[in-house]
């Protein structure tokens, strides 16, 4: 029985470590959860490898439970992310550092955290649409704010003006 288990275990360990690295360095909440799923992939590969080495079903049965827990975790974590996004309007995890010990410094270096302006590369700059028309009038308020609205409301207000 020739089974080269070491290399499968090495790939599993590398996947786990890359997931841990992503969890430590990413600041986007969604990508942190995605990195933890990557760690689960490494653990699954290791379990399946050990199951094949022992010639038993246990490793694969455990991996099915890992799948279940990963699905539960994704659902719960994503609803939490949505709730946090509704509160802070950002996915940055550095916003939620209130639970740390009060005498500890913030987990991010100051020069990285307080980035004043972001110089985006040319490929990531998106064109901005010029605002056209006027804002739809709400009931009771008659301020005429020029904003970007749908064509129907702007044409409607223009016809009113005419």
């Amino acid at each position: 029985m020739t089974i080269e288990v070491e290399r499968y275990l090495a790939v599993g360990a590398a996947l786990f470590v890359l997931g841990a690295l992503g969890f430590l360095t990413r600041r986007n909440l969604i990508l942190m959860i995605l990195s933890s799923e990557l760690m689960l992939h490494g653990v699954s590969l290791t379990l399946v490898t050990f199951g094949r080495m022992h010639h038993s079903q246990e490793g694969q049965a455990f991996t099915i439970f890992i799948l279940t827990v990963a699905a539960c975790e994704a659902g719960l974590a994503l609803s939490l992310v949505l709730a946090l996004y509704q509160k802070s309007k950002t996915l940055d995890v550095e916003v939620w550092t209130n639970l740390r010990e009060p005498d500890l410094p913030p987990p991010m270096l100051a020069e990285d955290r307080d980035e004043p302006a972001l110089e985006l590369p040319e490929a990531m700059r998106f064109p901005l649409l010029t605002p056209a028309g006027r804002a739809p009038q709400k009931s009771g308020s008659s301020d005429e704010v020029v904003g970007s609205n749908g064509a129907s409301s702007s044409s409607h207000s223009r016809s009113e003006r005419i």
Binding site: T2, I3, E4, E6, R7, Y8, L9, A10, V11, A13, A14, L15, F16, V17, L18, G19, L21, L24, T25, R27, N28, L31, L34, S35, E37, L38, H41, S44, L45, T49, R52, H54, H55, S56, Q57, E58, Q60, A61, T63, I64, F65, T68, V69, A70, A71, C72, L76, L78, S79, V81, L82, Y85, E94, P107, D112, E115, L118, L120, R125, F126
Partner: protein, 243 residues
């Protein structure tokens, strides 16, 4: 010092890979991606030369290298990507490559289930949440890593420790011990695969799941129910009270 001399290949390749991955991290000063990829690939190639075994069937070896290189490259691309949607798609590719490795490990049902659950459900959910919660354009927090140097050092020291443990772990002795302990793994006659039977068939896996782990399966079902109730309860609502 002797330890370093004996394991110079492991140390050098891990150092190169760590430097390359750190180089690829999103950072405030622009650096070219090519240098990071060169360092990572050279380190990975040095490490792969240690892992290569000449014995065994050639087809499995070739497939193993294709899937594992694809999985690790896509994982590095995922954790260093500046765009979250791209990172989610790279994670889908990692899932496909891992399922290829599952197939090589005689787990066809598990590979199919993983593709269905991860690529079919989890990635799609992530993409939906990105659509719901992503700000327009690129954001600052996707362009800056948090403590990249310290995190890379910690991660690659951990990887070195794991790989060193795998290397000194005598596989033959472990397999022999496993042969002796096989009678004690499962007491259930029905779920124990015979010596000449393949493992991971749906028949055997079903026997194992619904024979040995029946209570765990029920618990997992309860966990799914509780998680779905919790997700509905926690999901933010609009002001009108509707979902």
């Amino acid at each position: 010092m002797d330890w370093l001399i004996q394991n110079w290949l492991l140390v050098i390749s891990l150092g190169l890979m760590g430097l390359g991955v750190w180089w690829l991290m999103p950072s405030s000063w622009p650096r070219s991606q090519a240098g990071g990829w060169l360092l990572t690939l050279v380190g990975g190639g040095l490490l792969a030369s240690k892992l290569h075994v000449a014995t065994g069937p050639l087809a499995e070896s070739i497939l193993f290298w294709i899937f594992s290189v694809a999985a690790l490259l896509c994982a590095v691309l995922m954790i260093t990507s500046r765009k979250p949607v791209y990172a989610a798609l790279w994670f889908a590719l990692v899932t496909f490559s891992t399922c290829g490795l599952f197939l090589l490990q005689s787990a066809p049902f598990l590979a199919a289930a993983t593709i269905i659950v991860y690529a079919g459900a989890i990635i799609v959910t992530f993409l939906f949440v990105m659509m719901l919660a992503q700000q327009a354009g690129a954001t600052v927090y996707d362009q800056r890593a948090r403590q990249p140097l310290l995190a890379t050092i910690v991660a690659f020291v951990l990887l070195g420790a794991l790989l060193y443990t795998i290397k000194i772990w005598d596989a033959h002795r472990a397999v022999a011990a496993a042969e002796e302990s096989r009678a004690m793994i499962t007491t259930n006659e029905l779920s124990r695969p015979a010596e000449d039977q393949p493992i991971g068939t749906m028949h055997g896996l079903g026997r194992s799941l619904f024979g040995d782990y029946l209570f765990a399966v029920e618990l997992a079902g309860t966990l799914l129910l509780i998680a779905s109730i919790g997700a509905i309860a926690m999901a933010p609502r609009r002001a009108e009270g509707t979902l």
